[in-house]
Amino acid sequence: MGFAKYAEDDLSRYHAATVIRYHEHERLKSGAGAGKQQAKGTPPMQESPGKNRMKDFTIAKARPLPVIVLADASGSMSENGKIEALNQALKDMVKTFASESRVRAEIQIGLITFGAQQAELFVPLAPAHQITSMSPITASGATPLGQALSLATGLLEDQERIPSRAYRPVLVLVSDGLPTDDWESALACLEQSGRASKATRFAMAIGDDAEESVLARFANDREAPVFKAHQARDIHRFFRAVTMSVASRTVSVNPDQSSGLVLGAAPDDEALDLDF
């Protein structure tokens, strides 16, 4: 076999292989082989153009970012319009989260109130945009903070309600008095638990009667020490700062990294002349 013959043979072999490959490719692309494949019980390899195969295997919901508020609903909160200010601040926070369109997470809100001898899950954890109305908190009775902390720990530990794909949750404690139950062991339990201990914890002390040492032990964010509210408008400022912090986390590159609390100045028109 001369060189020309050899080269020709090589070329024709290459040419034939290319033709077969092209033919096979076109056959798959046009779906001609699909019926045959389906008859064997296997799905067709080629989908319609633009179809994303990942859709069948992925979760169709954004990652949640839970925000759980522990709100003091003891009798002392009924004085000087504190509970009214708290109700309004919570409502504003839910509204802001629900209308926030830039976020890369589903912000969920849960509300635990503690007063009247017991703590209760006042608003179960739900996406902010699904909370259409929130009945106002009424203040009465003692300050069972320990029960509220246990309830929060249970909620954070529950992988059904807060899956492991969720971003690090935020716990917000708002109180104006001295706890009336065994809060220390409940806090220790929260701090020692596997998941609940990883939540970012913010705290606000309302009025001069608040036991700041309790709240300081609760807060774990170095960039956000206990905030002291002396007036009702300070409650709004605190919740606005929490809202900003959570919202900035959801649009940042690192949603698990706390950005602390930046407390803006309260506008003058919001100033209520309250003495507490």
């Binding site: 994303n52 990942m54 992925t58 990652r63 890369r104 969720a166 690090r168 940042s252 590159v253 698990d256």
Partner: protein
């Protein structure tokens, strides 16, 4: 015959902020078998993209030499040491997770994982997941540069012997959005889709799938590597 393919794409969060992909992917032919490494730089650290790239490179450099195959602890220690030496910055500034798979041509395979992500395989016709269940929240992970403990590593020796056997390595940008019960079907789908294409086309297909990730508001970088027996 063992084949491998993979892709890595920058997530919308990094694309939006103009930052680079902090994931890294390495996929090589290795002693007539396949070698794959996937690494996710921790987003909270400024230079973690350097860490993740060097982690993949360290896997290749160490395994290219005659590292003892029967002593995974020694091998992983060597990879870790190589990574520490190669890093131009402090390890705490560039921490990253690492998932690796070293497959010999006969299917004898070593898989290892430190930190987040998912490593799943079908070996000898049986499906398994190497990654343990997570007890925490997303992006809280062990990593090179943070962990010093051998117990933080998940290691297994498997054999990709049966036709259709395959393994997949992925960062948490992919694994956190997967339906847990569908991981086996996901591996099967990846295998069949990649086996039906040439290496170049399967890489392009994989990249396209990651770029069009269907989970709403997803943010993370995404990296995936697949090795399968044809």
């Amino acid at each position: 015959m063992l084949l491998g393919t993979g892709a890595s794409v920058r997530g919308p969060a990094h694309a939006g902020s103009g930052e680079c992909n902090q994931d890294a992917l390495g996929l090589w032919g290795w002693r007539h078998g396949r070698l794959a490494a996937v690494s996710d730089g921790l987003g909270s650290r400024p230079l973690s993209h350097i860490g993740s790239r060097l982690a993949c490179r360290s896997v290749r450099r160490v395994l290219r030499t005659d590292t003892p195959w029967d002593d995974p602890k020694a091998m992983i220690s060597e990879i870790y040491r190589h990574w520490l030496q190669a890093l131009p910055v402090a390890p705490s500034q560039a921490p990253c997770t690492l998932l690796l798979a070293a497959c010999r041509p006969d299917g004898d395979t070593l898989v290892a994982q430190l930190g987040d992500g998912l490593l799943a395989y079908r070996a000898g016709g049986r499906f398994s997941i190497l990654t343990p269940g997570r007890n925490g929240f997303s992006n809280q992970t062990e990593a090179l540069g943070i962990s010093r403990s051998w117990t933080d590593w998940q290691v297994a020796r498997i054999r990709l012997s049966a036709p259709g056997d395959a393994l997949v390595l992925m960062t948490d940008g992919v694994s956190d959005d997967l339906v847990p019960e569908r991981v086996e079907a996901f591996l099967g789908m990846l295998r069949s889709e990649c086996a039906a294409r040439s290496r170049r086309r399967s890489r392009a297909w994989l990249r396209k799938q990651l770029e069009g990730w269907p989970t709403p508001d997803h943010a993370d970088d995404k990296t995936i590597a697949v090795i399968f027996r044809r």
